[in-house]
Amino acid sequence: MGISDTATSGWDLVRSRPGTFVVVLLFLALGLDLLGTLLTGEMAVADLGSLLWTGLMQGLIIGLAGIGLSMTYSILNFANFAHGDYITAGAFTGWSVTYLIAGFGAADAADLLLLGAGGSVFGAGLDIGITTTPLAILGGLVVAGLATIAIAMGVDRSVFKTMREAGGISLLIASVGVAFALRYIIVFIYTPSNRGTTAANLVPQFDVWVIDGMVQINAHDLTILVASVALMLGVHVLLQRTKLGKAMRAMADNENLALITGIPTERIIQWTWIIGGGLTGVAGYLTVLWRGTITFRLGWFLLLLIFAAVILGGIGSIYGAILGGVLIGLTISVSQVWIPTDFARAAAFGIMILILLLRPQGIFAGRETA
């Protein structure tokens, strides 16, 4: 739909797509309401700024993890329910290494690798933070990516590879099995307890003055911003400047045609897992850095939000995944202006369902890796 098209066919839109029209009206009304509360001073601009900032952080993590899901969804044609547990796996392996480096010599290596299972070591006690232990964080970040790549490729080789010809639903169900196995292997190794990972009091805080108040930003927020934007740019360059991106687009469009054109489809699939898995593991690691706690359910809790982001942006588009992630992140936090926090995630799911009903191809119309 071109710009002139939208300008002239306002009435056509109302008639042909009443659902979309109602949703657009609803969002306009919400926007006006928000503007009203800001102008009357009912809510401080800085408060909205804080919500937006939190939403952006959450959104970047969702977007980063969403790239991998979006790529495998469009190239292998199935919704991978194990993706959430790749996030968890990346988080746990990465943080094992961070603990090991940060607490080297100070505590038993096995206790450190198990993230202090059984209450033997505590992250806060190891002074973990981006300014206090930068090497440990960097090492953990790299290992989180590498380990998740290894897990994703291992699972692909042992489970999904022999099922390439099976339908999307068979693969989906198999991925649920992978998700269960992976999640509870993690529980089996690390025990199911939640624990704190960072020394929150040692993280530098900055107060940014915004019109009528302060928005608090800490060094971990900035780490996430830098790491995720750098990785997103990296993927963008990789897929735009190399033949890999073109080959992926070709495969997403028509796998058989790609094969007879001479594209080594199996190797492209491996690259898909490498890029997707790496980003997913890093996203898991960053989530834990940002929240300061780790739990074996963190990936599963993120999974549906990531699906929401990917569907919102359009399956197959990495820009769609990033934009969708940020929009979902913002939805979760800004929705708190109108509804109780209990329903923040419900609001995100609601948006996903609306998109599925009104524009199932998503904002970026899908099937365009890169």
């Binding site: 206790d111 169900i173 269960f180 529980v187 569907i311």
Partner: protein, 442 residues
Amino acid sequence: MTDRGPMDRLLANPSVGRLWDQDIVKVLAVFGAIYLGYVVIGMASGLTVQGIFATLVQLTLLIAIYAMLSLSLNLHWGYTGLFNIGIVGFMAVGAYTMLLVSKPAASVSQAALVGGFGLPFIVGAIAGTVAAALLGLVVALPALRLKADYLAITTIAMAEIIRFTFLSASFQEFQLFGRTVGTGGGRGLLVNFEDPITRYILDTEWFASVAESVSAAMGIEGTIQPALETLVISVVLLGVVAGFYWVFSRTGSSPFGRVLKAIREDETVARALGKNTDLFKIKSFMLGCGLMGLAGVFYAVFFLGSVNPTAFMPRFTFYIWIALIIGGAGSNTGSVLGAALFVGVLFQGPLYLKNAIASVTEITDAPDTIAGGVAALGQLDLAPLFAYTLDNISNFRIIALGLVLVWLMKRRQDGLLGHRKEHAASIPFDRRSGDAEEGTDR
């Protein structure tokens, strides 16, 4: 089947084979094998007869609930090809609606207690079923046009929204028609009223005397009454399962069911033959959802005793899926068998086995973390790792569940009975050759 093991050779025997073809024989054989396994393991590890009996009746109760759910799911997935992974949502709506209708009014003495309308349980159960079916309609109306995996994501998102709603403090307590009602939030709701089974059977004088005489006859110390009560409930619930089975078999073999199967195989063809496939899908979805709601009602009243949102986590939905896939999607008998095998072997089996092992052998102190087990592995000592595994068996079994699901999807997508050919026509065409064979046998 390509491999011919002893089981296949046994089934090749004509008389055994014909017996095995009877669905009821399959069901009895599988249930019998599971019970026998529990009894043998229990006896070997020296559990009391009472203990084994109590375990078995509790197991039957859970199997009955799973069987209701897998039968309902079979209507969605096995018959119509609708990929519903929001089962817990429909169960939760059924259970909470029933509680809203059937709980007695909040008493003044317990100010915090959330009440209900105090109508009979039957009314509550019907209301729960209808509410779940209506929710099914709300989901189905727009979502059935979506691709299977989009429908999947929509249904699971819907189930999560429902769980958040019941969890939320906003609806914890509110006024409706002058009564204090609500969801109870995270604390949930207590089933604080008598269901008909309790009122008309379990609380009667003669049931108490029966229980007493059974205890006396078997020379059991203490009372066996709680186990007998569970037995009565599970027998009633097995009756409900039979009802579900009957409804779904009738549905499946009716002209309505044939259209559903046609939609599953190829919706375009069904549409080309002039069937309004949307309408058929909506009806099928609503029927299945309603009965899932009813199963949720039974789960709440007879298994949980009190309802809170953590009872309706998404993984429960996938348990039902595993049960259905083990049994074979598309087969009602398979759904029941799958439920029995899932609950008996995969879900409760490991826990029972752990108790049995723990009562036989002195297990050395299990290490707190896996590190202790792995360290001992270096000295070729398997015991600590084994002890750690036993200690964490409830987590370990879910790893096994996942692997079983993966294996099934890779090797046996049809499960136990899903491969059975169905006749498109109401009259089977291959009867004649079968009759001839029977004639020669006699």
